[in-house]
C-alpha cells in the first residue's frame, strides 16, 4: 500500500511539473509580457510595475523566467491581482480555495451516494420501462446545459419561490456589522465538518473491524454525542446565524452540482453492476442462502464500486469543470468563478493563478481518490 501510494504520489508530482511547464509556455506564447497588462491599468503606479517585472523576471532569458515561474508557483507568489488591486493573487486565492473545496466535496459526496444507490436499484431491475426512463433522464441530467440548469434552479427556487438567495456567498445586509468576518465563520464550519466526519468514520471503522455485536448501538450513540457536541460548540461561538446564512447560500449550488453529476455515477454503477452480476462469486453468495439484499449490497455492489471509483477518477477533471461553471452561474466566489471573472476582466495574473490552483486541485483530488481506491481494493493494498 505504502509503495503504491508513493509511486502514485511521485507520478502526480511529475504531472504537476509538466502541468506548470505547460502553463508557462501557454502564458509566454502570447505577445508581450505579463507586466504589460498592468500598464493598461491607471491604478498601478510605475514602481509597482517595475517590482512586478522583477518578480516575473521578464527581462531575464527564457529559461531563467521558467525557473522563476516554478519558484513563484511553489512559494505561492503569483503577483498582484489587477481586478482586486492592491490585493495579491495569493491572498485572493487563499480566501477562495476553501470555498471551492467545500462546495466540491459536499456535492461530490452527495452525488456519489445518490448515484451509487440509484444505479444499484436500476441494475437490479433490469429491463422494462423503469430502466429506460431512468437511463434517459440520467443521460439528460448528465449532459444538460449546466448554465441553463443552474438558471432554472435559481429562477424556480430563489426567484419565484424565494426559498433561497439568488446567488453569492453571503447576504451583505446581515453581515454589515457582524462581529466576525465571513472567512472565520467559514473556517469554523469546515473544522466542525471535518471533526464530525472524522469521529463518525472512526467509530464505523472500529466497530466494523472489532466485529462487535452491538455495533449499531455504539454507532447511534456516537452520532448523537457528536451532534450534541456540535450544538454545544456552536452555542459557545455564537455565530450560528452567520453560519446559517452561508449554508443557505450553499444549498442551490450544491444541489445543482449534485444533480448534474450524480447521473454519471448512476449510469456507471448500473453498467458495473451488470458486469459484476455475472461473476461466479455472486452465484456462490446466492448459493450460500444469503438474502437478495445482502447479495446485492455486500457482494455485487461492493465489487461494482471499484470500477465506478476508477471511472470517477477518470472524470474528475470533468467534474471540476462542472464546478467551475456552477460557481460562475451562482456567483459563488470560489476558484471557478475567480477563473472566469479574471479571464473576462483580463486580470491575467489572477487567471493564471486560479488556473494553476484548479490544476493542483484536480491533482490532489486524484491522489485522494487513489488512496480511497487502494483502501477499497485489497488486491493492491500490499
Amino acid at each position: 500500500m505504502a509503495k503504491y501510494l508513493l509511486k502514485r504520489s511521485a507520478q502526480i508530482l511529475v504531472t504537476l511539473f509538466v502541468f506548470l511547464s505547460l502553463v508557462f509556455f501557454i502564458v509566454n506564447a502570447q505577445p508581450g509580457d505579463v507586466s504589460n497588462f498592468y500598464a493598461l491599468n491607471p491604478d498601478v503606479p510605475p514602481e509597482t510595475r517595475e517590482r512586478l517585472q522583477d518578480l516575473f523576471g521578464v527581462n531575464e532569458p527564457l529559461w531563467k523566467q521558467y525557473l522563476v515561474h516554478l519558484k513563484n508557483t511553489f512559494t505561492g507568489n503569483f503577483g498582484i491581482s489587477f481586478s482586486h488591486y492592491p490585493r495579491s493573487v495569493a491572498d485572493v486565492i487563499g480566501e477562495r480555495l476553501p470555498r471551492t473545496v467545500v462546495l466540491f466535496m459536499t456535492a461530490t459526496a452527495l452525488s456519489f451516494y445518490l448515484g451509487f444507490g440509484l444505479g444499484k436499484v436500476v441494475a437490479w431491475r433490469r429491463g422494462g420501462w423503469f430502466e429506460y426512463t431512468s437511463t434517459v433522464s440520467g443521460v439528460t441530467l448528465y449532459t444538460v446545459f449546466t448554465p441553463w440548469f443552474g438558471l432554472m434552479m435559481i429562477w424556480l427556487f430563489a426567484f419565484k419561490a424565494g426559498w433561497f438567495p439568488i446567488g453569492k456567498f453571503l447576504d451583505p445586509v446581515l453581515w454589515r456589522d457582524a462581529p466576525i468576518d465571513a472567512n472565520s465563520v467559514f473556517t469554523q464550519m469546515i473544522i466542525t465538518a471535518f471533526a464530525v466526519s472524522f469521529v463518525v468514520l472512526t467509530v464505523f471503522v472500529i466497530t466494523a473491524q472489532k466485529r462487535m455485536s452491538n455495533a449499531r448501538i455504539i454507532r447511534i450513540v456516537s452520532m448523537v454525542l457528536a451532534t450534541l457536541a456540535v450544538v454545544a460548540v456552536w452555542m459557545s461561538w455564537g455565530t450560528v446565524s452567520y453560519a446559517w446564512d452561508i449554508l443557505r447560500h450553499m444549498v442551490l449550488p450544491v444541489a445543482t452540482l449534485t444533480l448534474i453529476s450524480f447521473a454519471g455515477t448512476m449510469l456507471l454503477t448500473r453498467n458495473s453492476m451488470l458486469e459484476t452480476m455475472r461473476e461466479d462469486f455472486v452465484m456462490a453468495a446466492r448459493a450460500k442462502g444469503l438474502p437478495e439484499s445482502a447479495v446485492r449490497d455486500k457482494h455485487v455492489a461492493r465489487n461494482a464500486l471499484l470500477p465506478v471509483v476508477t471511472s470517477f477518477i477518470f472524470s474528475l477533471a470533468f467534474a471540476v469543470d462542472g464546478g467551475v461553471i456552477t460557481e460562475s452561474i451562482f456567483s459563488w466566489p470560489g476558484m471557478g468563478q475567480t477563473l472566469v471573472s479574471a479571464t473576462l476582466t483580463e486580470d491575467l495574473p489572477l487567471a493564471v493563478g486560479a488556473f494553476v490552483f484548479v490544476g493542483i486541485f484536480v491533482l490532489v483530488a486524484h491522489l485522494v481518490a487513489d488512496i480511497l481506491y487502494a483502501y477499497l481494493d485489497p488486491r493492491i493494498r500490499y
Binding site: 466485529r211 455485536s213 461473476e279 461466479d280 462469486f281 452465484m283 456462490a284 453468495a285 446466492r286 448459493a287 450460500k288 442462502g289 444469503l290 438474502p291 437478495e292 445482502a294 455486500k298 457482494h299 461492493r302 465489487n303 471499484l306 477499497l376 481494493d377 485489497p378 488486491r379
Partner: protein
C-alpha cells in the same frame, strides 16, 4: 424414515429459452442419493451436468425454465418453493463446490469472513463462535489457520479449492454437490483433495454428488454412477457394476476413452462425431448418430429401460457382455 433417500429427483426437466430456441439441458432426469452415499455424474462437456447441479439448488439464470419434475430433499419438494422459502435450505441442507471454484470467493472480503457469512445466514451463532467454527473447518481441510484472515488473492489455487470445500462444509449439509472441483488443479493436488474430501464425507456421513467428465476420478470416489448424454441419464448403477459391465454403448465408448480405468491396455478410442446439439437433439435415442449399433428403432423411438440388478440403461441394443 432413516431409509429414505436424502435426495430424490424425479423426472426433472429444465430448459433454457434462447434466441435460437429451447435448449433442453436437463430432460427428464430421475435418480436418488442415500445418506452417506456418493453419486458420480459423468458425461461429455455440454451434456447438462452443471445444469442439473444448478437446478438442484434452484440457482437458475433468468432464461431458465424449470419445466417439470420434483426435487425431494429430506422428503421436502424444493420445486414449488419460492425464493424466500428456498433460502433456508441452501447451504444449510444442500451446498455446492462450484465448477469455477477459483472465482467463487469474493475478492474484497477475507476468506474467514466469507465462511462466517454463510454460518451467520443460517444460525444465530455470531462473532466468536463462528470464528471458532472456521478454525475447525480450516483444520478439517488442512489449511493453515493463519490464512483465515487473508484475502483470496493471497491463496494459491489449491488453497482456494480447500477454502471452498471448507465453506461448503460449514453448515454440515446433508448433501454436497461438487461440480468438477479439481479440474483446474495439477494431478497431485487433485489427488490429495479428492482423498481428503472422501475422508471427510465418510467421517461426517454426508452424501455427495460428484460431477466430472473424468471416468477415473469417478471410479475412485463414487459408490454409484450416472452417465449423462444430451440432458438425459443413459445408464445408472453401482460404480463397480457399471465399470465392469457397461450396458450402454455410450458408456463403453466413454470407458475406452479412459483406458486406465480397467487396468488393461486398450487402444485409446475417441468418440466419433460431434456431441449433440441440445437445441435440436436427434429423435429416438439421442446417441444414435454416433452409435455403432444404431438401428431404425433407435432413430425413431425413445429407448426402453434395461435392468440388470441395481444397474439400468436406456438402450435398444444393450450389451450382454
Amino acid at each position: 424414515m432413516t431409509t429414505d433417500p436424502v435426495l430424490a429427483v424425479d423426472d426433472l426437466k429444465m430448459h433454457y429459452v434462447t434466441q435460437a430456441g429451447v435448449v433442453r439441458a436437463v430432460d427428464g432426469v430421475s435418480f436418488s442419493v442415500e445418506r452417506g452415499q456418493s453419486l458420480g455424474l459423468v458425461g461429455e462437456s455440454g451434456c447438462g451436468k452443471s445444469s442439473i447441479a444448478m437446478t438442484l439448488l434452484k440457482l437458475l439464470p433468468d432464461n431458465a425454465r424449470l419445466v417439470a419434475g420434483s426435487i425431494a430433499l429430506n422428503g421436502i419438494d424444493l420445486v414449488p418453493l419460492s425464493e424466500d422459502e428456498m433460502r433456508p435450505h441452501r447451504w444449510d441442507r444442500i451446498s455446492m463446490v462450484f465448477q469455477a471454484a477459483m472465482n467463487s470467493l469474493d475478492p474484497v472480503y477475507r476468506v474467514g469472513d466469507q465462511i462466517v457469512e454463510a454460518l451467520e445466514a443460517h444460525s444465530s451463532s455470531a462473532g466468536r463462535d463462528a470464528m471458532e467454527r472456521v478454525r475447525e473447518l480450516f483444520d478439517l481441510v488442512s489449511l493453515d489457520p493463519s490464512y483465515i484472515l487473508r484475502y483470496p488473492h493471497e491463496y494459491s489455487g489449491g488453497m482456494r479449492q480447500r477454502a471452498i470445500i471448507a465453506m461448503a462444509l460449514a453448515c454440515e449439509p446433508d448433501i454436497i454437490i461438487a461440480d468438477e472441483p479439481t479440474t483446474a488443479l495439477d494431478v497431485i493436488v487433485q489427488d490429495h483433495i479428492l482423498r481428503e474430501m472422501q475422508t471427510i464425507q465418510h467421517s461426517l456421513e454426508m452424501s455427495m454428488i460428484y460431477i466430472s467428465h473424468d471416468m477415473a476420478v469417478i471410479a475412485e470416489v463414487c459408490d454409484v454412477v450416472g452417465v449423462m448424454y444430451a440432458g438425459k441419464l443413459v445408464e445408472f448403477g453401482p460404480t463397480a457394476d457399471v465399470y465392469a459391465r457397461p450396458i450402454h454403448p455410450y458408456t463403453r465408448a466413454l470407458m475406452s476413452a479412459f483406458p486406465s480405468v480397467r487396468g488393461e491396455k486398450h487402444e485409446l478410442v475417441t468418440l466419433p462425431g460431434e456431441p449433440p446439439n441440445l437445441l435440436d437433439p436427434p429423435g429416438g435415442c439421442a446417441f444414435n448418430p454416433r452409435c455403432a449399433y444404431a438401428t431404425d428403432e433407435c432413430r425413431t423411438t425413445a429407448p426402453p429401460i434395461v435392468k440388470r440388478g441395481d444397474q439400468w440403461a436406456a438402450c435398444w441394443n444393450p450389451s450382454d457382455e
